[in-house]
């Protein structure tokens, strides 16, 4: 089986979420990705989501958040605060087809790692910068987090309950989105390089990446002068549409009715043919009396199981989908049969289901996605000795000088970090940020007693 990016090497200077998603997709497509971190500047996501909430020992090699975006990569540690480390990074550039970075714009030039400098080392290099607001413009030096960029992209202005404030999606929306945009941009640059032998520079703005998602509202303002409103779960185009409460604790179903035929199908499936005609019988009535229809639909859904109602309505030809919580997502038969999750045996963690980072299935190859994430500095020797030819003595010296190593040296002492990485889950539950806490979750997921960790003990 040939993978599309076999033989392509990526030097990955990105951290956290957007950049690592971009390079993770390239890795899944067959690229050899060398991820560079510093002992003083470890990827902070190595601190997020510990198995069994355990922050002991080398916890930074076990974080679930890190695994998601970094499976299959190689990890080396070289800290930019050390000039010798920067020189070693430059010595790696000739081996790279692609250099990816996600610093704020002034950083790469400061270290002589900007595109112009890189081309003097490797003329046909493809470099991609993924930054919050891009390399130019008055906001270029702004520090940016994904959780701020979704509102800045315009999406939050059209996300929210009717008459309520703007709200954010419960994820850092622009990070996975711009990671995908970055992967596509690099693939396009590879397409061009294959034909012309020329590399190039890609300036990606994470802020701009997600703006097209707000395209309908932008066009509404541009063409009508009217500002788009927040309409909750309703639709500009179809009525009724909504998310309705079902039987049980916090269970819901999303329903869209697009036309007369679907409304008839809905009414019969729900056992209420009397709703079909009269005031709700045509599209005008269904828009006009949407509030009343919502009450009728809720009176029916309240008695229904959200999964069963989904099947009932879908079988009748109506768009309906149960609102799944994260646990139900992991257990969902459709996603399982489709292989949406890889089962990855992470050393010292055990087998865990890990969401794929590309929502496409290929008939000619299978993406190379089911790999554990590297331990911090796991490939220092392989890369620095194997590729650059450093001797054992040189590696030892670099280790002594803490230029390379396997233990982070953050501004915050490790003991304090250990407390931070363990979450007060009981408090989370009291606050309501989590809806439940299953102690037998591994059994429920069918991963109990599997994987290297359990075999060792």
């Amino acid at each position: 089986m040939t993978l599309p990016l076999e033989g392509v090497r990526v030097l990955d200077l990105t951290q956290v979420y957007a950049g690592p998603t971009c390079t993770r997709i390239l890795s899944d497509l067959g690229a050899d990705v060398i991820k560079l971190e510093g002992l003083k500047r470890m990827d902070i996501t190595r601190n997020f989501v510990m198995p069994e909430n355990n922050g002991k020992d080398d916890y930074w090699n076990r974080a679930g958040y890190f695994l998601l975006r970094n499976g299959g990569k190689k990890s080396i540690t070289l800290d930019f605060s050390d000039p010798e480390a920067v020189e070693l990074v430059k010595r790696l550039v000739p081996y790279a087809d692609i250099v990816a970075e996600s610093f704020t714009p002034r950083v790469t030039a400061k270290f002589g790692l900007d595109y112009e400098s890189l081309t003097s080392i490797k003329p046909d290099v493809i470099m991609i910068s993924l930054s919050g607001y891009g390399q130019t413009g008055p906001w270029r030096d702004f520090t940016a987090y994904g959780m701020g960029l979704e509102p800045a992209s315009g999406i939050s202005s059209v996300t929210g309950y009717r008459d309520g404030p703007p709200l954010r999606t419960g994820i850092s929306f622009t990070d996975p989105y711009s990671g995908g945009v970055g992967a596509g941009a690099v693939l396009a640059a590879l397409h061009y390089r294959r034909r012309t032998k020329k590399g190039q520079y890609i300036d990606l703005s994470e802020h701009e990446s997600a703006i097209p998602v707000a395209g309908y509202g932008i066009m509404e303002y541009a063409l009508t002068g009217r500002m788009p409103e927040r309409i909750g779960n309703r639709s500009e185009w179809y009525a009724p549409q909504g998310v309705y409460r079902c039987r049980g604790e916090d269970n819901w179903i999303a329903i869209t009715v697009r036309n007369d035929a679907e409304w008839e199908a809905f009414c019969y499936a729900a056992g209420h043919p009397e709703w079909e005609n009269g005031r709700f019988g045509d599209v005008l009535g269904r828009f006009k009396y949407h509030d009343e229809i919502d009450e009728l639909i809720s009176s029916w859904t309240l008695e229904q199981d959200h999964i069963e109602a989904m099947h009932l309505l879908q079988n009748a030809g109506v768009i309906a989908a149960a609102v799944l919580n994260p646990k139900q997502v992991l257990l969902n038969p459709h996603l399982r049969e489709r292989g949406a999750f890889d089962l990855i045996d992470q050393p010292d963690v055990g087998v865990r289901p890990v969401a794929k980072q590309l929502g496409a299935t290929f008939s000619a190859f299978e993406p190379n996605s089911a790999w554990p994430a590297p331990k911090l500095g796991e490939h220092n020797r392989e890369v620095l000795q194997g590729m650059l030819g450093l001797s054992d003595e040189e590696l030892e010296r670099l280790e002594e000088q803490k230029v390379i190593g396997d233990t982070p040296e953050g501004a915050v002492p490790l003991d304090v970090m250990r407390m931070f990485v363990q979450w007060p889950t009981t408090t989370f539950q009291q606050m309501g940020t989590i809806a439940g806490l299953d102690t037998d979750y591994r059994e429920q997921l069918g991963i109990e007693g599997t994987g290297s960790k359990e075999q060792e003990t």
């Binding site: 413009g137 059209v158 996300t159 509404e220 185009w237 819901w252 919580n325």
Partner: protein, 399 residues
Amino acid sequence: MSESALAGTRVVDLAQGIAGPYCARLLADLGAEVIKVEPPEGDYARRLGPFPNDVPHHDRGGLFLHLNGNKKSVTLDLDTASGRVVLRKLLADADVLIESEAPGVMASRELGFEQLRDEFPQLVYCSVTPFGQTGPYASFKGNSLAAMALSGLMYITGTPDEEPLCTGGEPAEYFGALHAWVAILAALEHRAKTGAGQHIDVSMLEALGCADEYNTTMYAYLGAIRKRFYSRHAIPTYPSEIFPCRNGSIVVIGGATGFPLMMAVLIEQPELESNPLFQNLWLRFMQWEKFEEILRPYLAEHDWEDLLTRAQELRIPFAAVLDARTLLENEHLRERGFFAEVEHPELGKVPLAAHPFKMSETPLRVGRSPLLGEHSQEVLREVGYEEEDQLVLRERGVT
């Protein structure tokens, strides 16, 4: 003029709606020649508006313009054998086919991947549907709302006491488009190595599901079921929330470093640096209502532009909450040329969201959407139909 990244690549775009067409637009912007094949009545997205003066017209839809720039439009009735003959001629020179029909529909027209692969072995055939071609939900009808619901992202979006909330703007459609675009580009690289085309099955649900930041991970690692909780992160880096301010809203993010001093300086109460709510991250996270009591009055008296600028000067990653108007007026985006003005024969000059990345050697293109059937004659002529044959096809309703 420099060459485009995808110069010489030809795409036949049979898709309708949002996901498939937007994927094809992304390829068109990179320089691919995209022939949009529409049924004689047009892609249904032509009816989705918004329209000037709210008067529907198949060539005046704003969303359609947004999704279909730089394409050629050819009308063709694929439910007729004669229409399918024309399509096969278009496919002879095509590198990519994109379609968005419910699973089985293309095969029923003898245009499924398996039926075309012998005749067009070079073809990268991409299907974009709500739930994919296989699995128990393959025949389900879907849209962005349904994909949001099944992806788990809806459950964690919104306020705890209200119903789960769909993100605005049909996000699953755009994630589907994005992943289809990446997959097609990957398949073209694969074809360059092996000579073979293939079938790509993109599920909007799974593309959106890829965006799940850590919610399934919280269950797979901790057994914790995360729930919606306003606009904040589950990871306790509070504050990370949208707050009202004097002239709108502002995203308040504490950031990884600098808190508590910088936040105390920002709100002009430096003594708060020693306040336990400022010093202790966990305390702040748990007693967020008390923290907000301190913060809200100050924000209510200041404009977002002022808060944003001063926070950023202190290296605190605050962000703006922009809307259609403030996006179009934004100085930063203007300087970067993000919104490009296109001239449309029916709409006049319209600002169009252009490209989120710039390529130094292969600048991306900006273009308007085609009128319905605008390029039928030109494209049919190219594949060998003389004027009189075209007339017959038009009279019979094939084009």
